[in-house]
Structures are given as C-alpha cells and as structure tokens.
Symmetry: C3
C-alpha cells in the first residue's frame, strides 16, 4: 500500500486518469486527451447539453489481501490500496470492470449511482459475486438527464462510490471492514476538473481504515483546485468537517449562479452508504497552512477520526507554522489523545 500522502498527490492523480482511460476504445493518453477530459477551473465549460454515446472504459481490478485483515482493490497486481482507485466516467460512458479475486473469500464490486443489470449487481442475492480465485466482469453504464418538459429525470452524474457486497454476509459487511471500497465519479460534460483528488472514507471509527495520527495527509499548493470525495460506511453515524473551506450542498459543490438557493456548508452528515463530493480552492481567502478535517462527533474526533489538509505555499514550500502543527498532530499534542 502506498503512502497516504502520495496516493492522492499529482502522481496518483495521473494514475487515476490512466486507469479510467486505459481500456477505452478510442482514448489516447496524451496531454491533450487529459485536458479534454475536463475543463480547468478557470476556463469556460464545454457543452453541458452533450448527449453523445460516450466511450467504453475496460479496466481490470484486483482484490488483494493486504495482511492484518485488510483487503483492497487495485488496478494492477500488487497495487491494491485502501481506498481503491478513483474511477471516473462521463455521462454516456460505460465501464467494464474485470474483477480478479486473488483472495480466499467470496467478494464482489457493487457501484452506487450508475446503471447495471442484475448480473452486475454485485450481490449474493442476485448471484453476482466472485468466488475465491474467480474472475468476473461487471458492467456499469451511465445516462444523460431525460427532459420531461418542465421537469426531468436525473442523469448519472454524481460523486458515487463502489464497494464489496458479498464478503462476510449478504451485504459485504466483512469486505467493508477490510477496506474494499473506493470513489466513483460520473461527470457531466463541462464539469470542472480538479488538480488533486482526495478520497475520505469514514468507516466505523476509522478514516480510510486508519486512525490519527496515521490518517491521510492531503496536500495541495495555494490556489490549486482540490476535490474531496467523501464516503460513509459501517455502523456509525458521522459528520465530515473541513476547517477554513466551505462548499455548496449541490451535485458539484458549486452554485449554479446567484439564483441558486442551495445551502452553503462546511460540515455534513456522512452516513453508511452515502457519498458526496465538492471542490475547493486550497487556501482561498484564508492562506496556506495546515488545516484539520475531522468527524465532528466529539467522541469520534477525540478517538482519532481527524487528519490534516496541508495547503503549501504557491512555490511548494511549507507555510509558517505548518510543520509545527503537523508535529503536534503526530506527537498527539493537538491530536486525539492530548
């Protein structure tokens, strides 16, 4: 398993892109192709009324035992992580996931938000899972918004997630405890593409199956656009709080303009099976520094459900006081057991 802070950095970000596009029928991974995948935060968006058929992305996922009761998904043998890789599509795209179960337990992959037939349900209920050692292909499709006159039925765009639905029971409770989960993003053509992506999974009393001070430290430079994908799992209720940044309670975290009545929040319920995402500009209007993110249930934050969002200076150097804060966090002064 890679370091917490690297798997969400720029290198990992490139990996995620490759993962998504690797098996696409027509995609070629050039800078131009990557740029076309989304629009930069400062540019005019593309065609939001796009109804193209989309591409088919073919990927292979490996479910691997990571030792210590941990199991992860990865895009290549030996690369499993907790959480698994961020998977991304545009509305209209299809993803074919060939899941290789290298473990000795029954498991599956079940997505939220996207379209699938019963054979790709990922549930024992529909006889849709991988036996130990088995390879099985799951197909996820997506759709555009359907207009019905004054109203419309929603398309597939959203900050979704995927997870095991078969290990240790009918609902994958064993697989979730072990770490078989990850983020799934379906974008609408024209959506903003971030500079960094951070997956935050509140799973029982853990964040990404870690407790403070070993929880992930997310890093960006001042002014970069970062995307948080927040997912809840397990048996407990949680609230996700990010210091000094806020977002709209919408599909994207942005408002649709000055007439959008949506609430703006910096603390949100993050309960089992739910997910949401948003983008913020790192340090915007507040400056660089080490900022906490944590569950706001006091017993949970005191118990280790907290981590660091490090906003570096524009040149990548450490802001004044940031290292001291991180040191306090690691020495448990200012951490959960102070």
């Amino acid at each position: 398993m890679t370091e917490n802070s690297t798997r969400t950095g720029p290198r990992e970000h490139g990996l995620q892109r490759r993962a998504v596009l690797a098996g696409a029928a027509t995609a070629i991974l050039t800078p131009a192709a990557v740029a076309a995948f989304g629009t930069p935060a400062t540019a005019a968006p593309g065609d939001e009324d796009d109804t193209s058929e989309g591409e088919t992305h073919r990927i292979t996922m490996y479910a691997e035992d990571l030792g210590g009761g941990q199991v992860g998904y990865g895009l290549a043998p030996g690369e499993a992580t907790i959480p698994g890789p961020v998977l991304e599509m545009y509305e209209g795209d299809t993803m074919e996931i060939t899941l290789v179960n290298t473990t000795e337990q029954r498991l599956s992959i079940h997505p939220h938000g996207v379209l699938y037939d019963t054979e790709s349900d990922g549930s024992p209920f529909n006889d849709s899972f991988n036996d130990p050692g088995q390879t099985r292909t799951y197909i996820w499709r997506t759709t555009h918004e359907k207009s019905l006159g004054r109203r419309s039925r929603p398309g597939s765009a959203g900050y979704w997630h995927y997870h095991d639905h078969a290990m240790g029971g009918a609902h994958g409770s064993g697989g979730l405890i072990a770490g078989l989960y990850g983020a799934l993003i379906v974008r609408r053509r024209g959506d903003v593409l971030p500079d960094h992506q951070f997956t935050v999974v509140f799973n029982g009393m853990l964040i990404n199956n870690k407790t403070a001070p070993d929880t992930p430290m997310f890093e960006a430079r001042l002014g970069e656009t970062v995307e948080f994908i927040c997912i809840g799992h397990g048996d407990l209720f949680h609230t996700f709080h990010l210091h000094a940044h806020r977002w709209a309670n919408t599909r994207t975290g942005y408002l649709q303009g000055s007439l959008d009545s949506s609430e703006v929040i910096d603390n949100r319920d993050l309960n089992p099976g739910s997910s949401f995402g948003f983008q913020v500009v790192a340090g915007e209007d507040v400056g660089p520094g080490a900022w906490m993110y944590h569950c706001h249930v006091q017993f949970h934050s005191d118990g280790g459900m907290a981590g660091v969002f490090l906003v570096r200076n524009e040149d990548g150097s450490m802001p004044d006081g940031a290292q001291a804060a991180i040191d306090r966090f690691h020495q448990h002064e200012g951490g959960h057991s102070s």
Copy 2:
C-alpha cells in the same frame, strides 16, 4: 392485515384514491376524476400556478388493535394496516379525519407538513387526542406557495407522514412501536401521478414493523412509474438505499431542468420524524429483475432491514433469475442470516 405485496399494488392504489376522494364535497369517482387527480408521467403537466381553494376530503380512520402488540390505522373497520393508508391531497385542499379509537389506549393522529390548529395537534400537550373508545375529528389544511418578490414562503406540497403522538407517553413512542404511522402526500397541481406507491417505514430495526424475509416485496412492471414514500421512526438512525435506481434530492425526486444544481442520490438518511419521496421508472435503463432495497447501516441490513423491489417484465411475467433471487432471500441465502 393484508399481504405486504398486495397493499401496495394496483388494487390498493385504487383504494387509496377512493380513500382520499371519498368524502370530497364535489369529487365523483370516475375514471376521468382519477385521471384528473394527477398527470401521467409522460404527459404535459397542468397549471402549476393554480391557487384554487381546493376540496375538502372527509374520511374516517379506525385505530385498531391487530394483536401481538401491533396497532394500525385503517379506512374502514377491520381494514387497519401497518403502515396505514396513503393519504393524499392537493395544495389548497382540506382533510377532515374522524379518528375512531377502537383500542383501550390513548392515541391520536399527528401530521407533518400540513396546517392545523392546536385542537388538531394530536398531542397530549395540547389536549388533542382520543381517549380509549373515543371518536375525534382532526382537520388538516394546506396552502399554496406565497410569493414575496424575489423569494417565497413554501406551500404545503411534500412527501409527509402522519403518526400517533399520544400512546405510551407525550410523544407517541408506544404508538410508533405498535405501528401507528402512514404516508401523507400533498401534491402541487401538475405533479406526476405514479402507477404504484410504496410506503417504506424504517422503525427501529424493522421495515413496516417486519424483519427480513417478511419485509414487503414491492412489485411493478418494467416501465411503470413507481413512487417510494420513505419515513423514519424510533430511536435509531438509518440510510435508505435502492439498488439500480436513483433520484434527485428535491421535493419530487425529479430535477427542475438542466439548470437544477441538486444532487442525485441512491442512498439517503432516513431518521426519526423525517420523510421523503421520489418516483422512478421501474427498471429504466437497467432492465427487469429483483432489486434489493435496504438500510445501508451494515448492522441493520445484516439484521433484517432489507426487502425486494421486483420489476417484472412488461407483460407481467417473471424476469429470468428473479424467482431464484427471491427464493434465496426467503431461504436466508442472500438474506440477513446467510
């Protein structure tokens, strides 16, 4: 009490309509009247700016002991069910509920969302309840949106609910455990009328006071529009998840067009006293089959908070594999104790 699967089928749907319209001053129950009650999912909507005074619906409800500690509401003697009947109004309508308490305990009916004076509050606090054997009338009114220029105060339209607020304490905790709850829908003129309605009440560790595999199986044919009304009660927190279908987090579950920034979800918090509803087209883009709905809190789904949404073929026949899935569910293979 009727079968779970029948009380939400087309027959029951007709009953619900009758219930609502039975006492209306002007309504006559003809096919034309039923059609006028809503617009089909595929038709253009009616006048959404309607501000008519509305009709008065007069119904009699019977609170009845169903044995085994269960108590339900019904629209005729001997017809009490858990949950109670779906009650429906349009904004501007009034409903007069004459509640007959046939039990030996104090109870009441308390609505969410609609308008009522203190005498119809349904709380012991306001001396508003039925003593054992007593008959009492409660009046619920509704209103249209009130424009205040650039903003407006909301009307009554919503997926609401009603419940006891007097049995076993000041807040009806005893009545809720026993099953005294049901769905209340206030529609805005022009809202889509579904082909089927399913009421799902997460109440403690139970769904509609049942545990798997005895939880309700909801049925529709491929392409029919179905409406879920989800209600939370009790002491526990929950999340409602439906496989292979999704909806917008809005008043109706539809989006208001491509500029609507609302989130699209397939998993939502369903906590005590809250309710929401949405419509989906059964099997749209995913095909027919047996799909699970369940609480996504792992301990709860594993403990029996799961059920089946059966999407039949267009001709009403069973889709391939669906009966096998249902059998697994009933044999507890794929069910909560697998």
Copy 3:
C-alpha cells in the same frame, strides 16, 4: 445567565444588533442604521449583487464560569449565556473578536463558515487558543459569491455557529459539554431581517444545556417573523421538529420562487457540528397557540429534548388553551415523564 425566554425576545434582539455593530468603523446605532441592516419581511429586498468591502465589527467576548460545570460566552463581564450571543455579519464584513478567558481552563473560539487564517483557527493543532486568564484576538472575514461563468463558488452567507475547540482536548469536547457555543449568521445584502431570533442547540441529550421542562420557551406574536438557528453538538444524532410550521431546505428557509425544486420540511437532521436556520411567520395559517419543538428521536424527546414555541395573539395576550398547555408541560403532564 438571563432567563431563557428573555434572551431571545425583542430586548435581546436589540442587544444582538448592538453587539454586532458596536465596534464598526463607520456604523452609528440609530433606528435608521438598524433598519438598513436588513429588509423587513414584507419589503422589497436590497441589492443582492452587492460586492462592497463591508464593515469591520470589533467586539470583546468573555468566557465565564457559570457554576455547576457550565461555561458561557458573553459580550460583557457577567453577561455570559448558554448559548452565547447571536453574532451577525453581512457578506464582505469582518469581525474581530477579542476573547477574554476568565476561566482556569484552556479554551478558544472556532467559527464555522467564515474565513480565518491559521492563527484564528481556534485549535490547539494550530496553537490558536487562550490559556487561562489570557486575552487573544480572533479575526473572521467573509466573502461574496465568485462567479465562474455558468457556475460560482459560494459566498459566506449562511446560518453558522461558533464554539470552543480547545477545552478538555484537541476538539473542545469539554467546552461543548460546558456550554461554549453560539449562533453566527452571515447574511447576504437583501436577506430578510426577522422580528425575533431563537437559538436551539441540541447538545447531547440537552437543549441549550437544559432538559424539559426547563428548556427555552420561545415567544412571538401572531404574524411576526421569527428566525430559528439550529445547531448540533456532542456525540448523539438528532432530528429537529417544529409543530405546525415548515420551511424550505435552502440557505434561508425561503424558496427562490416557483421554479425552486427544493424540498419543504418540518423535521431535519441536526447532528454534531451542523447548523441550519430558517424563518417562519409565527402562527401563519394555523393561528396562535403553544406549539412544541422537539427532537424526533423518541428516546430523546421522551427524555426531555422538547420545548415550547408560544405564539401569542396579535395584541400580545395569551391564546385560549396556551397557558394550560404550558402548565401541562411544566407539570410533566404532556412533558417527558408523563
């Protein structure tokens, strides 16, 4: 500590205004200035596209031991309350809070929603707190919505809150139990200004650190506009329910017009670290009377998480039956131990 019912009445409302404006560089507290602070509920709104730099409000807050393990914030020595005073700003404004810690414990003030650098974070993590006896200044800034073409990044407007983040641990769990919390409102120019403000904090099994029948009784006259600011703290999950009134699930509780697809609710999750607010017209369409507000988790309402919203007649007199209801509440008939 003042009476529950007085600190939210008209007198207190004036105090809150003064508190906010006291140190402003340019503000003069005249009736005209107060009137300009917001627009009455019935008047046309101001310029919602305002991008002015805003004012700087300089206030001093005192954290004081109130005995019995309770600690509050106040705007003058000896005036600490639980919850602390409502603090208000407009988007563009800055607030400088000089916090005097008169207690013998480490504490701080940490805001939600607004902008602050790491020195004003209020967390031990960022070495941002008051030692016992220490005075320290925290600076909170706000911003306007930033247009990005078809989308925008949200401004600071919202129903936020502030709380201790340092007493008894890294996350202020001790300070929250003691009562160190309050409401923080950032308005957008043109937002409606209410006649009364009520802060409701669900903190563990308590409301504003009280249990029924000692929970606050909120009072207004029929037709007055009242603003609820609801805040969650502690370790438990809650749902806030208000009888006979409802609001839109938006930034303000109002809808943005007939095309706004937002849900209308009367029951909402209120979990640790979250806050929301809304305005209703007291008794609108339902008449005067004593109305309950309570947590809808049955075990919580039965355990004392309930209070009274008293809507008086227009002339200020008691409505029929209201005193009897309040008496029942206080005699625990209809209260939590009935």
